[in-house]
């Protein structure tokens, strides 16, 4: 076999280290440093696990687990790793723009282009999506009183496909170069004529793998919500987070295919010489823009809706009040979901369609602001005259409300086509969408992380470091992005690796400082985790209800048993656990425990993930034998699995009884906490109920 048949396009030159060795410059050294971080990080993790002899345990209890709670935790862990990388890249970009004012700066133009492409791709597909999928995974079954999602194995497969795609993003740092086509990957630039290297292929396959995972996740969640709600939980009694999860899932199911079509057709162009988006022979790149944004716009609501759900839960819990205007919130969520399919053209107002078409889509875009505004009022009215407790999650909710409204206002400016003509493709747009996504997504997910962490791990997160981190996220955001509005309005183009206008310098310096504060915010988050783990004994909440919660997830121990509920609950209202506590029926012990059937662990998820990851890698480097072998391997795995009949495992009634009695003993030993001591060591997770 010749080398090309064996290794495709892969060669020594593909390695970032070799490039830095042959041509040492600040630019290549930064690239090699990033690659070294990936390699050293991976080696360190592997070594640590091996030294501690934890492989077997990890494999048995985590990797092969089908438990929605563990899968959820793994998703969130993945998203934190990816957040760290993408944030580092953001800081580097800000550094570049602040230093490259009529000067070369730290990285060259091609490297800068890779930075914004990976930053955007990772933030959307490998930070935001896994984070929200992880939280929904963890919380959804608990909130609807179910033992797991509808298809636990499929859930694991989605996780591992997503992880494989994230792995591919990491591999692109070490071998080869990533795309320079931005997160949207527009052809014809990403066609072979202009980008002959592997970059766009990395982008195509990472995104495709991830979007398949998300489609499967969406259908899994939607089925779970439709079919697995506990008795009595009618649609209008679902917690709001379940509502937003449902709408997010529906958006995933119907919008992800558009992305898959866009990337698949681009792949056909690149690999087989088709002419979908080329300049010649009847290709039309506008078709790509159209397909991409058919996905892209619903996607932003996929990202934002779960955060809306989290804010609803958080605001209501920490105001000790029923959510104001539940029905209107639910209806607004549905309205946003449907409307989000009618506005995609606003992403390319300037590409030449007639003014009438732009007008229609501009008006539709402004219309989406209405249900969103409704929600903001609902949250405000929920807090009105409530006993508001300013815990970390609530602080995030407040910062969100103020900041998000600002972003919404600039959105209305962009929705107006004549104005969009002036500021499109400038930093004004970059400021706008970060102004939506950071409060509307990141703050929300972080609020959810703080809110549900005690449920998942049995102890609270350190409150002080939480506040430090919160302050940094907020201050950093304003410093980093408000200047971009000014710069954008002054005409500075986005994706610029060099700046020719010295007057921009002060603004760019402020934005750079803001990025550093944001980096500090993430660091504070990690410190918080470290401190909280060290002091976990002081902060345990085994009884399970640290915040005087309202929905069913708080009615079980923290962490919950693997079967979630010893007896599946019946509900008769909207805030079932809140009501049960007031009626004194919470924590009632059942007369008898029954055995519980749970899915057995399965290696199919990790196997499919590994094969999928290698298949993608092989396609990127055109190693055809490997691609064929791994794809056949995936099909064979699925078929083999369909022959496995022993897929369930029974937890005997005695085991259930023992676990539950232990918990009830803990409950009996715990002193109820009033809300004043919620964030102190007194809080053991049993809420003092006042009438």
């Amino acid at each position: 076999m010749t080398g090309a048949a064996l290794l495709g396009r892969l060669g020594w030159q593909s390695l970032a280290f070799v490039r830095a060795w042959q041509d040492p410059s600040l630019n290549t050294l930064i690239a090699a440093g990033a690659a070294a971080l990936v390699v050293i990080g991976a080696v360190a993790v592997v070594a640590l696990i091996t030294l501690r002899g934890q492989w077997r345990r990890l494999w048995r209890e985590w990797f092969t687990s089908l438990d929605h709670k563990k899968i959820g935790i793994m998703y969130v862990a993945l998203s934190f790793v990816m957040l760290a990388r993408a944030l580092a890249e953001a800081v580097l970009m800000r550094l570049q723009q602040a230093t490259a004012i009529n000067a070369p700066g730290v990285v060259d133009a091609e490297h800068f282009a890779q930075l914004f492409s990976t930053h955007g791709t990772i933030m959307i597909f490998f930070m935001a999506m896994p984070f929200l999928t992880g939280l929904i995974n963890y919380v959804l079954p608990l909130q609807i009183g179910a033992r797991d999602v509808s298809f636990p194995l499929l859930n694991a497969i989605s996780l591992w496909l997503t992880a494989a795609a994230a792995g591919l993003m990491m591999a692109s740092l070490v071998v080869g170069r990533f795309s320079t086509g931005g997160w949207s990957g527009y052809p014809p630039f990403t066609e072979t004529g202009f980008s002959p290297g592997v970059g766009p292929d990395y982008w195509i396959w990472a995104v495709t793998l991830g979007s398949i995972g998300s489609t499967l996740t969406g259908l899994n969640f939607a089925t779970t919500i439709y079919k697995k709600r506990c008795t009595g939980m009618t649609v209008m009694r679902m917690p709001l987070f379940v509502w937003t999860s449902l709408c997010t899932s529906i958006l995933m199911i119907f919008s992800m295919p558009a992305l898959t079509v866009a990337t698949a057709l681009l792949a056909l162009d690149r690999y087989l010489g088709f002419h979908f988006f080329t300049n010649a022979l009847g290709g039309n790149m506008m078709n790509y823009a159209n397909l991409f944004w058919l996905f892209g716009h619903p996607e932003v609501y996929v990202l934002i809706l779960p955060a809306f759900g989290i804010y609803s839960e958080v605001v209501s819990t920490f105001s000790t009040k029923e959510l104001y205007g539940y029905a209107s919130l639910a209806i607004a969520t549905i309205a946003i979901a449907v409307l989000s399919f009618t506005v995609w053209v606003h992403h390319f107002f300037t590409m030449g369609q007639s003014a009438n078409i732009n007008a229609v889509f501009g008006i539709a875009t402004m219309a989406i602001g209405v249900p969103t505004g409704v929600k903001i009022y609902n949250w405000i009215w929920t807090m009105f005259r409530g006993e508001v407790r300013f815990t970390v999650p609530l602080l995030y909710a407040l910062a969100f409300m103020m900041t998000f409204v600002l972003g919404g206002l600039t959105g209305i400016i962009l929705a107006f086509p004549p104005l969009d003509y002036l500021v499109h493709n400038t930093l004004f747009l970059v400021a706008h969408f970060h102004n939506m996504l950071i409060p509307g997504l990141l703050y929300g997910l972080l609020a959810g992380y703080h809110y549900w962490f005690p449920k998942a791990f049995g102890f609270r997160l350190d409150e002080r470091w939480g506040r430090v981190s919160f302050a940094c996220w907020v201050v950093g955001f304003y410093l980093a992005f408000m200047p971009l509005y000014v710069l954008g309005a002054a005409g500075m183009a986005r994706r610029s690796s060099e700046v020719l206008e010295p007057a921009f310098r002060p603004w760019l310096l402020v934005a750079g400082a803001g990025a550093l504060v944001l980096a500090a915010a993430l660091a504070a988050l990690f410190v918080q985790l470290w401190v909280s783990v060290r002091h976990r004994r002081a902060n345990v909440v085994p009884a399970g209800d640290p915040w005087d919660g309202r929905a069913l997830e708080w009615s079980v121990s923290a962490p919950p048993p693997e079967y979630n509920f010893a007896v599946l609950p019946h509900v008769a209202g909207r805030d079932p656990f809140h009501d049960a506590k007031r009626k004194g029926t919470a924590y009632a012990e059942p007369v008898r425990y029954a055995p519980i059937e749970m899915p057995r662990n399965s290696a199919v998820g990790p196997i499919l993930g590994a094969l999928g990851g290698w298949a993608a890698f092989a396609l990127v480097w055109q190693i055809w034998w490997l691609a064929a072998a791994t794809v056949i391997g995936m099909i064979a795995t699925v078929i083999a699995r369909s022959f496995v009949r022993d897929v369930e495992r029974t937890i005997p009634a005695e085991t259930v009884a023992r676990i539950e009695r232990d918990w009830h003993e803990t409950l009996a030993r715990s002193a109820p906490t009033t809300r004043d001591f919620e964030t102190t060591a007194i809080n053991r997770g049993l809420a003092q109920v006042l009438a």
Partner: protein, 104 residues
Amino acid sequence: MSDPNRGRAAEIATYGIGYGAALALTALAFGLVSWAPFAASTTVRIVLGLGLVQIVVQFRCFLHITLRKSARHDLQLILFSALIIGLMVSGTLVVLLNLHHRMM
């Protein structure tokens, strides 16, 4: 009609009716194109109409989608999908054909 306990003969009959109707609709559509009794644009319109009817027939007879209450979730899903597909396809055609027109 989509009562799951109607018995075997009735079920076979449903598939049979569906098969017959689909065959007839197919033959009609192909026949119209083959013998071209109408102008091309009229033919296309009729053919697309017949295709739509056949899709409904197949949904009804092969997939047993009905208006019964117990089958509502599935029907809702189809209608919602039809709405989204309609939005996406018609939007795509309008926008891109408009662009095409303006580039000529």
